[in-house]
Amino acid sequence: MSLLSKIKETWICLKAGKVTLPYPAKPQPAPERFRGRPIFDASKCIGCAGCANNCPAREILVFDVCQEIRILKYLGRRCTYCGRCADLCPEKAITMSKDYETATNNIADLQQRLELFMSTCQRCGRCFKEPTPLEQLKLKGYRFDDLENDRWIFKSKSYFDQFKVTDDIHIELD
């Protein structure tokens, strides 16, 4: 009787087949709506820094070298892949890829750094006014985040009112 039951058990096991994924040997594609690492496209980006202001992990740093050049740095270390940056981007320069094989031995491998040209308003330099007082508080103007120590520095607009930003702009009138 016990032999019969063992044969029956073997038959059930043979019928079930192999369940284990052969993952590291064969590639395993991610499901359709999976959000992986965001990829930044430098040719489409206009440098509005909306992604940096809306990132819940404060992950995207912005540094203005001068009036014309803005550096945007994505750290990638505490990104939760929420996709808010890709949702918000007006030019669709950020795409959420399906890339999940991002394990490294050096966390700096995940960084993406964009060097962007900023065009300026011909009258007043780079400025625009937000509709509500609350959004005016959130407006950063020039941003000087700490790129070397990977720190996001919050500065309100009133800080920049001490220096007259709009006066030192050279307007091109050829």
Partner: protein, 178 residues
């Protein structure tokens, strides 16, 4: 050469201790998911042990918190000497989205040295297997830092010399490119 041959025919098995220092249990579930028959990680000889004194590998989940940092450090020091530390999840890699609150010290690497990072919130079970396989030398690393630069402005810039009189209208010459 003998060392490589020896490593190939006598592969070592890693015993794993998982330490959660204040995470949300999302990465815990993914790590336990890896040990199920579907993603059977015991075919690499990996086994979950309960004590850090038996372990070779420490899987850290969650940020280093003010209340658990000392216990994490003690667990690390209790491991026998050739030891590897994995930081699993975005909390352990970089502090998570609550990296600036009062009780979070920061990433795990501020307390103990970390060898491998697996980002994700939570990382897929395949991503954890990929990280383990990367540590064992079965697969190659796929990510590298990228630095991109704009060659020209994405939007054509207004220049007075591009204005043209056509009849009695001022027309901007590059307007078709927008």
């Amino acid at each position: 050469m003998f060392r490589k041959l020896f490593l190939k025919f006598f592969p070592r098995s890693l015993w794993v201790y998982h330490a959660n220092s204040g995470g949300c249990n999302g990465c815990d579930i993914e790590v336990l998911n890896v040990l199920t028959p579907y993603y059977d990680v015991e075919r690499f000889g990996i086994k979950l042990v309960a004590s850090p004194r038996h372990a070779d590998v420490m899987l850290c989940q969650g940020p280093a918190m003010r209340s658990t940092a000392a216990a994490l450090k003690r667990a690390y020091e209790a491991m026998p000497s050739p030891k590897i530390v994995f930081a699993i999840g975005s909390c352990a890699c970089g502090g998570g989205i609550w990296h600036d609150t009062y009780n979070v010290i920061g990433p795990v690497e501020k307390i103990i040295p970390v060898n491998f990072y697996i980002p994700g919130c939570p990382p897929r079970p395949e991503a954890i297997i990929y990280g383990v396989a990367l540590a064992m030398g079965l697969v190659d690393k796929k990510v590298l830092p990228s630095s991109l630069k704009q060659e020209e402005l994405p939007i054509p810039r207004y220049h007075p010399e591009d204005l043209e009189m056509q009849g009695d209208m001022l027309v901007y010459k590059k307007l078709e490119k927008i």
